[in-house]
């Protein structure tokens, strides 16, 4: 069963948070931001995540908390925020009406481009550049979702309760990587390879990672054929894998 609060955190930090990487990877995304001056957009979700997204110089930055902002959008509940993200509800800002065109045009175009990468068609994936970007963004979405589920979902918290302190490398060989931090059974994600991992889970290629993300291959079978390598504190990976099982549920 989906927990709306957990989904709201995933939508805020894993989905909107990946706008950061979209703009790093795709020049078209950077070109979509036409604002001449930086614009800060804050989402204030009652009973859920609060974050400020800054759009400046073709870059996006997502920070937890409500900071100085140009546009502020309060949302009455996690359910409503999730509806905004899936396009079935319209956000209403209480501040920054003069930036409404940014919301309706630039922000909307950016999120639509992100959706194209995250819900990629077979036709788009046939393009090697698109394939690499899409798979990289998926890795980041999944890595950040892991920590949100480990922190907020009831069963995810149970799994996180068995993860000892340390950093886990979650990576694609010669490709993108993320660090899952565990401290006192609270998880957080950074989009870089860890300096001192206690455990490593590495996919042998973008193609393998893609097949796994799309549910076309099974992780246990991949460990057997060597296309997924794991080492170090396997109890960290074992319990992350249980959370990974729930990522598919939330991102479906």
């Amino acid at each position: 069963m989906l927990d709306q609060k957990t989904l709201a955190y995933i939508n805020m930090y894993a989905i909107l948070g990946t706008l950061e990487n979209l703009c790093e990877l795709d020049p078209e995304a950077r070109a979509l931001m036409t604002n001449p001056k930086p614009i800060a957009l804050a989402f204030d979700v009652k009973g859920g995540p609060k974050a400020t997204i800054t759009f400046a110089g073709g870059r996006v930055r997502v920070r937890p908390g409500i900071h100085k902002c140009d546009i502020k959008i309060p949302v009455g509940s996690c359910e409503k925020f999730n509806a905004v993200i899936n396009g079935t509800a319209t956000p209403v800002p209480v501040k920054g009406f003069r930036y409404i065109s940014f919301l309706l045009k630039d922000f909307d175009a950016l999120t639509k481009l992100l959706e194209r990468y995250l819900r990629a068609s077979e036709e788009d994936l046939a393009d090697p550049v698109f394939f690499e970007r899409s798979t990289t963004l998926m890795l980041y979405v999944i890595a950040v979702s892991l920590s949100q589920i480990g922190d907020y979902d009831e069963i995810g918290r149970f799994s996180a309760g068995y993860i000892p302190d340390g950093e886990v490398a979650f990576s694609i060989k010669n490709g993108p990587a993320a660090t899952i931090h565990a401290k006192d059974h609270v998880l957080s994600t950074e989009k870089r390879y860890p300096e001192n991992p206690r455990a490593i889970m590495e996919f042998e290629s973008l193609e393998l990672a893609r097949a796994l993300f799309d549910g076309k291959v099974n992780a246990l079978a991949c460990i057997g054929n060597g296309s997924i390598a794991m080492s170090g504190m396997i109890n960290m990976i074992d319990n992350l894998n249980r959370i990974l099982d729930r990522v598919a549920l939330y991102l479906a």
Binding site: I155, S159, L220, A229, M233, R242
Partner: protein, 419 residues
């Protein structure tokens, strides 16, 4: 020594992947078995004898996993297998069960201190499930207390809420306390007054990925006292330790008596039979259960079990296994120290657990295990090991020689820790 290669293993495993989920599933497979990295490990076997097993490439291993416990006298023990072969000529799976069932039950009752009766099945999980059902039938209560880090099989009630295929409802009546913590048990009894059917635990904490922990002085006696006082059935899962610590049961080894005790792995030296034994006062509840299986009363494993237990008694086997285990553990610690490794050995010597403490993770230990595998010593990085009777002093000496070589290789490859 030239490291082993596993070309045929890979070929067979690739064939397996096409027709068997995960290729080899469960604890014997590369995922749950922690084959790290997978290309250093044999994946399919061809034969076994005594303390050795051979893979499909013809590589020989001194096997410290013993099929994860069943091999206690040595693979293909002539006395046990002889009894099984003789029984096979007479009958095995029949409409009227063979009298061999009665003979094995009588032998179990004569051997195991807390056994007034024996109920047979096939796997350890059959008996832990039977024990929990029996406890619930006897007490008319629903909750079960587990010790953190437990493993009692693969039935849904024994798994955790985050395991694929397990429902929250499957584990809704499971309560958890830390190992060696009698105060936590007292608290959980108070919080669930009159609702706890059973306390289930292994005789000591031999969970995976962590140093194994023996019971603190007085621990089991206090648990026994609390169970008796509050009408809670005390279940000992002796599936893994059974007959390696004491032929009388691991509860007897630690100075207490269980109400129900589960055996499997070492009953018949690899022939498939498990047993739930219990006190007289639990027999009526056991009689009431609807619980059986097509092969549970087959005679061949019963004959093997009778021969195995008889031979273990004659040999006073647990003492021998302990002596062999101490030789292995002391030798490994010395070989490790000789190369600058801090090897932590825990658990009972006949089921020793190993961990390299130098790096704060398991990377170095996994490297060492992989080198050992490639030189013919089957050890593991995440689970306790098992000693068998066929392991000779020459095998131990060879093990220690290879261990020393492998520690040296890993040290050389990791100047960060051993420079």
């Amino acid at each position: 020594m030239e490291p082993y290669k596993y070309e045929k293993s890979r070929e067979w495993f690739d064939r397996a992947l096409k027709v068997v989920p995960s290729g080899v599933y469960g604890h014997l497979g590369p995922a749950e078995g922690n084959f790290i990295p997978v290309d250093k490990w044999p994946l399919l076997g061809s034969r076994a004898q005594g303390t050795y097993c051979w893979d499909v490439d013809g590589n020989r291993f001194i096997d410290y996993m013993c099929a994860f416990g069943p091999n206690i006298l040595g693979y293909n023990d002539p006395d046990v297998d002889g009894a099984a072969m003789e029984q096979m000529k007479i009958c095995n799976c029949t409409t009227t069960p063979s009298y061999k069932m009665v003979e094995l039950a009588e032998l179990m009752v004569d051997t195991v201190t807390s056994a007034d009766w024996a109920f047979f099945a096939k796997n350890g999980g059959d008996t832990t499930t039977a024990a929990v059902m029996c406890a619930r039938a006897h007490t008319h209560r629903k909750k079960i207390v587990f010790v953190g880090g437990f493993y009692h099989g693969v039935a849904p009630w024994t798994q955790k809420v985050d395991y694929p295929g397990v429902l929250p409802e499957d584990v809704a009546n499971n309560l958890y306390i830390p190992w060696n913590d009698t105060a936590a048990f007292e608290n959980i009894i108070a919080e669930n007054e009159g609702e706890i059917a059973a306390f289930i635990s292994t005789p000591y904490m031999h969970g995976n990925y962590l140093d194994n922990e023996l019971p603190a002085p007085g621990y089991w006696q206090k648990i026994r006292e609390l169970c008796t006082k509050h009408g809670i059935v005390l279940i000992i899962d002796d599936v893994r330790c059974g007959f390696r610590l004491s032929l009388e049961g691991s509860d007897a080894f630690y100075g207490f008596e269980a109400d129900l005790i589960c055996f499997c792995k070492a009953i018949a030296n690899g022939w498939n039979v498990s047993a739930l034994c219990g006190k007289e006062f639990m027999k009526a509840a056991m009689c009431s259960l609807s619980y059986t299986g097509s092969y549970w009363l087959s005679a061949v494993p019963f004959a093997a079990g009778i021969a195995n237990i008889t031979k273990m008694k004659a040999l006073k086997l647990p003492e021998l296994l302990r002596e062999k285990g101490i030789k292995v553990c002391e030798g490994l610690k010395a070989a490790a120290a000789n190369n600058g490794f801090d090897l932590v050995v825990s658990g009972e010597p006949s089921l020793f657990y190993l961990r390299t403490a130098n790096d704060g993770s398991l990377f170095l230990h996994q490297e060492w295990v992989a080198e050992m595998m490639q030189r013919g010593v089957f050890v593991t990085s995440h689970h306790n090991h098992f000693i068998n009777y066929a392991l000779s002093d020459e095998d131990i000496a060879l093990t220690l020689e290879i261990a020393d070589e492998c520690f040296g290789i890993v040290a050389k490859n990791n100047p960060k820790y051993f420079g």
